[in-house]
Amino acid sequence: SAVISQKPSRDICQRGTSLTIQCQVDSQVTMMFWYRQQPGQSLTLIATANQGSEATYESGFVIDKFPISRPNLTFSTLTVSNMSPEDSSIYLCSVDPQSNYGYTFGSGTRLTVV
């Protein structure tokens, strides 16, 4: 199965600042997904990132708040902009390697905004 390296693993940030999260995959994948897991909650898809095109955002999420880059088939970044305490969550990237192992997830970034 694909292996995803996600960083940082955690961060504590001041409100009003931005944080960029990186995901590196060990194989080429068409689509990469970014999820948010709020405290005590399930996972919600933020957006889908295809290489060479703008990310597609799910209802309730906007590019100005969560800009995404996808410069090649193995890498993507998610930025959480102008952060507030409500952005405190775990952010996870995911890929569908089209294998028998299902969608693969990064280890997550635990963000705390103070």
């Binding site: 199965s1 996972l43 919600t44 898809l45 889908t48 995911s94 693969t104 997830f105 280890s107």
Partner: protein
């Protein structure tokens, strides 16, 4: 839209006893169903998936799940639970997102296995 529901927020079981984590689904067409486990401070780990074929799916770490079309269920099971199985378990279904397929998750079930 496709959806899954996990009716139990928490399941407590003694070590060595059978473990069942419940999941029901609501889909149009044939469901693609998944189970994931999340350990503290870790990402999601894939356990197993059902696409087509045998209704009993065997996965990682001794887990299995039974697809039941008449009851629209996909319960996760383990014959003999271990303390190390204590974690958060998510059922998921492949759904149609804004850009194609995505996973839609249930609310999660916390499993506590007591020695």
């Amino acid at each position: 839209a496709q959806s899954v529901a996990q009716p139990e927020d928490q399941v407590n079981v003694a070590e060595g006893n059978p473990l069942t984590v419940k999941c029901t689904y609501s889909v149009s067409g044939n469901p693609y169903l998944f189970w994931y486990v999340q350990y503290p401070n870790r990402g999601l780990q894939f356990l197993l998936k059902y696409i087509t074929g045998d209704n009993l799916v065997k996965g990682s770490y001794g887990f299995e799940a039974e697809f039941n079309k008449s009851q629209t269920s996909f319960h996760l099971k383990k014959p003999s639970a271990l303390v190390s199985d204590s974690a958060l378990y998510f059922c998921a279904v492949r759904d149609r997102g804004a850009a194609g397929n995505k996973l839609t998750f249930g609310g999660g079930t916390r499993v506590l296995v007591k020695p």
